[in-house]
């Protein structure tokens, strides 16, 4: 097999992995602060994907232009969800939280089925068939845009949590819940903000994913599972770990498809998960206490 094939496939895997990473980043942010595992994560992404398709088909709005507005819609959705539905469950047993979010996931899937029907939908942008060629390297334009957008969004998120006062307050809640209460932080509002930020991340990932894959109502559970594999591999609660996990899974799937049989490429992602659980249960960049 020519070397350029490996190069092309690896680059495609990296770009897809970046979008995977952004999607998982939302899950990791939510868990890292609120300590609630969002079992409706992929389903929330499918909402963003359908919004993208809807706006493209009805108003011909380019997905890249709609990235920020749709992320904002998902932020509001996430905020309202945490403030109205999940906050009362924060101190309840984990199985109650699990059932609540699984129920939410089922409701989202079925609502999408009722509204949009079961068939796959896609956006046919003017650049849908474009690619860039640099020597032997051919890069899919849509994947490149999606990957670049993922890097921008992730960077903004890192900057927000590192330097913004609100970001620092959220990190304080994550580090020490009781301490945050003692110093007078409005923890429930910060939790809602965090859930909103996580939802906005998955919303942005959903918009970009629409450029790469077709959307169906049942796509959600697949991506929920994928997000779990990524964050557990990278380290649950670690933002850098989520991005690293996304890249690792994206590249592994791509290369496994090339080197072994493509129909079994998902198997290799799970194989990595098993290895991580065996040898580094906290994940590659996770803290042992988690």
């Amino acid at each position: 097999m020519p070397i350029d094939v490996y190069l092309n496939v690896t680059v495609a895997g990296i770009l897809t992995g970046l979008v995977y990473g952004l999607m998982a980043l939302g899950l990791s942010v939510i868990f890292g602060v609120v300590r609630v595992v969002n079992f409706a994560h992929g389903e929330m992404m499918s909402i963003a994907m359908y919004l993208t398709v809807l706006l493209f088909s009805s108003l011909n709005l380019d997905p890249l232009v709609m990235l920020v507005p749709i992320a904002a819609v998902l932020f509001v959705f996430g905020y309202a969800l945490q403030a109205g539905l999940i906050n009362p469950f924060i101190n309840r047993p984990e199985h109650s939280q699990f059932l609540l979010l699984v129920a939410l996931a089922l409701i989202i899937v079925n609502m999408l089925l009722i509204i949009f029907g079961p068939d796959a939908r896609t956006v046919q942008t003017s650049y849908a068939f474009d690619s860039f060629q640099v020597g032997a390297l051919i890069v899919d334009a849509t994947k490149l845009y999606a990957g670049a957008a993922a890097i921008v969004v992730a960077t903004l998120l890192f900057v927000f949590f590192r330097f913004a006062p609100l970001g620092k307050a959220i990190r304080a809640c994550a580090d020490n819940y009781t301490g945050a209460l003692v110093v007078g932080l409005d923890v429930k509002r910060l939790y809602a903000l965090t859930f909103g930020i996580g939802a906005a991340c998955v919303g942005a990932a959903g918009v970009m994913m629409t450029l790469i894959v077709d959307v169906t109502p049942i796509i959600g559970p697949t991506y929920t599972l994928l997000a779990f594999v990524i964050v557990i591999t990278g380290g649950l609660g670690s933002m850098a770990g989520a991005l690293l996990g996304g890249l690792l899974i994206g590249v592994t799937e791509a290369l496994a498809g090339l080197l072994f049989t493509p129909s079994a490429k998902s198997m290799f992602a799970f194989a990595i998960l098993v290895l991580v659980l065996l040898f580094r249960p906290q994940g590659i960049l996770g803290r042992r206490s988690i």
Binding site: D130, S131, E253
Partner: protein
């Protein structure tokens, strides 16, 4: 003073019987067909949703145009009971059972081999005839079933006919690929075709060799790796067994990865489907499908074409409509000859079917002892400007092949 009503047990029973009779009577009257015979209740199972939805809905067009044509052929009326398999084997089985429980007297379906296998088991258990419209896995008619009939080619028949047609095609154009890479869906149909290729291809002394075989998930949403691998094999042509969504994904990736093979030779659905042509526009031109198809020169084909054009303007007549219509034709013909909706009598009548005025390529519709129409042949079809032309067999051809494919990058 109000009059007391004496209601004895006998009065109550008589009233109930009279009431039930009067309620049922209009239904029975309504159900009478034009010839005084009630319509045969035919359960039509198709993947109307899920990843095969587009093809299932295309098959449905064959159902929709059938009543008028069957009437013009002086065949009895059919009462169609639609069911959706949701592109899922378990759902297909469950829906087949429900149709039978709801009174279906004959089943038709279900496009997909896996789903059809499940439905065939139900049909055999319940003793209800199943006329398969489309499904190629050979095993379905190798089980010794008494109620299962298939007017469609098995995987091996498709392959034998497809290889014959390829040789005819290469002969006409005076050229042939030296190597192909073989991509196929990893489902019941794709696997059956793969097994068949190993068994059948050596008999035909083909001018090319298969340099790589790439199997992929039928529900895959991204086939970039698969196409990169195929491109890396550096073969002259692409040999494919696919469905619709994956055919479109492969085409998109071929364009993005800037690879136009000499030819795309398809031995399955997808590449000639209406949605493929409409969605991809100029990028849909060129692929050659070696598949069960209609004979454009047959009289009934022209009738079917006219009916489809009237009901669905702009839709090309193709495999899905033809074989779904023919399954209903078999059902109506058998019902007429059996004179009853008794399942066993219907199955016996289907077994002795001899329809020569039909649509598909081949001498007509007859079933062997296994319930298989073993006389069917494939056609060789090429996409040209949103239309389908027939290149082979010679008797059914209406165009010359365009070879090699025009590069994707040169198509505006």
């Amino acid at each position: 003073m109000p009059r007391r009503i004496h209601l004895s047990r006998r009065h109550l029973l008589a009233s109930a019987v009279a009431g039930a009779t009067s309620l049922a009577a209009p239904g029975i009257v309504r159900a009478q067909g034009a010839g005084g015979r009630p319509p045969l209740k035919v359960g039509v199972l198709l993947p109307r949703s899920g990843f095969e939805a587009s093809i299932g809905q295309d098959c449905q067009r064959g159902v929709d145009i059938a009543p008028g044509i069957l009437k013009s052929l002086n065949l009895p009326e059919l009462a169609v009971m639609n069911a959706d398999t949701e592109s899922n084997v378990d759902v297909a089985r469950e829906r087949a059972e429900k149709l039978v429980n709801d009174g279906a007297q004959l089943l038709v379906g279900a496009f997909d081999s896996g789903q059809t296998t499940a439905i065939a088991q139900v049909a055999e258990q319940k003793g209800i005839p199943l006329v398969i419209n489309i499904a190629a896995a050979p095993d379905i008619t190798e089980q010794g079933y008494k109620f299962v009939f298939r007017n469609f080619l098995t995987a091996q028949m498709i392959l034998s006919s497809a290889f014959e047609n390829q040789l005819e095609l290469f002969n006409v154009i005076g050229a042939a690929p030296k190597s192909v890479v073989y991509m196929h869906v990893n489902d019941t149909f794709g696997t059956a075709m793969s097994k068949g290729i190993s068994a059948v291809m050596p008999k035909f002394n083909m001018p090319y060799k298969i340099v790589d075989e790439i199997a992929y998930d039928p529900t895959a949403r991204d086939l970039s790796v698969e196409v990169a691998k195929a491109k890396g094999a550096n073969a002259d042509a692409l040999l494919v067994v696919s469905r619709l969504n994956d055919a479109m994904l492969i085409t998109r990736e071929l364009v993005k990865q800037r690879w136009t093979p000499q030819a795309i030779l398809s031995m399955g659905p997808g590449w000639y489907e209406e949605q493929y042509l409409k969605t991809l526009g100029k990028l849909s031109n060129g692929p050659i499908s070696l598949v069960p198809f209609q004979d454009p020169n047959k009289k009934l084909t022209k009738v079917l074409e006219a009916a489809l054009a009237k009901a669905y303007p702009g839709v090309n007549l193709s495999t899905n409509h033809v074989y779904t219509f023919e399954a209903l034709l078999v059902a109506a013909d058998a019902y007429k000859r059996a004179g009853t909706s008794d399942p066993k009598a219907l199955a016996d009548a289907i077994r002795t079917t001899n329809i020569t005025d039909n649509v598909s390529i081949g001498p007509g519709i007859q079933f062997n002892a296994k319930g298989q129409n073993d006389k069917l042949k494939c056609g060789t079809i090429q996409n040209r400007g949103g239309k389908l032309v027939t290149l082979a067999p010679k008797d059914a051809a209406n165009a010359k092949p365009e070879w090699p494919m025009a590069p994707y990058q040169n198509r505006a």
